[in-house]
Symmetry: C2
Subunit: 110 residues, 2 copies
């Protein structure tokens, strides 16, 4: 059955998905999520940073401090093997949730 966390877990799927591609820091992560969804999905940074902490504690991502060319320090997150492994079941869970909701509205319509 669909985990209860799923109701809140939009961000996790989004973050893991985007990190599949390349390691990124928080600010850029937020921007990419917004861009790649045409603005449909948007996370405030105040919500995003604590999320990244949580995901790091769960070992899905790992952050390292880096200094960019322009001298700014930033925390660069990359997917861990565990995070990679988490991704496909998460995707499946979301798909299942969506199908369940569709079924509900359809059954009700009928």
């Amino acid at each position: 059955m669909i985990g209860s966390g799923i109701k809140r877990g939009t961000a996790e799927l989004a973050v893991l998905s985007v990190l599949q591609d390349a390691p990124l820091h928080g600010y850029e992560l937020a921007r990419r999520i917004e861009q790649q969804t045409n603005g449909a999905l948007r996370f405030t940074l105040a919500a995003l940073y604590p999320m990244l902490y949580r995901m790091e504690q769960q070992r899905w991502i790992r952050g390292t401090w880096e200094t960019s060319a322009n001298g700014r320090r930033r925390r660069c997150y990359r997917l861990t093997p565990a995070g990679k492994k988490k991704l496909s079941p998460l995707q499946r869970e979301w798909a299942e949730l969506f199908r369940a909701l569709q079924r509900l509205t359809k059954v009700a319509h009928a």
Copy 2:
């Protein structure tokens, strides 16, 4: 853009969808949601009742006390016109969220 409430609003869509069909009381609502999604979606009653309160305060549903044939009192909820009107945009929002998440994982895959 997708409202932030959407991340939590699974229940709302589910409840409104099921109530489209017929007025129902909480306990039965929970059962139908579970049945109609083949167990994929399940809400505990302790989570459901406060939700129904909230939805009633928002005027999406209206509850009336009824006494069933077997003498049990129960609160029967039915969709209000406002709730009906809320339903299709909510569905659209969810579809958009899903498309956005799919886009994210696909873009990342490419």
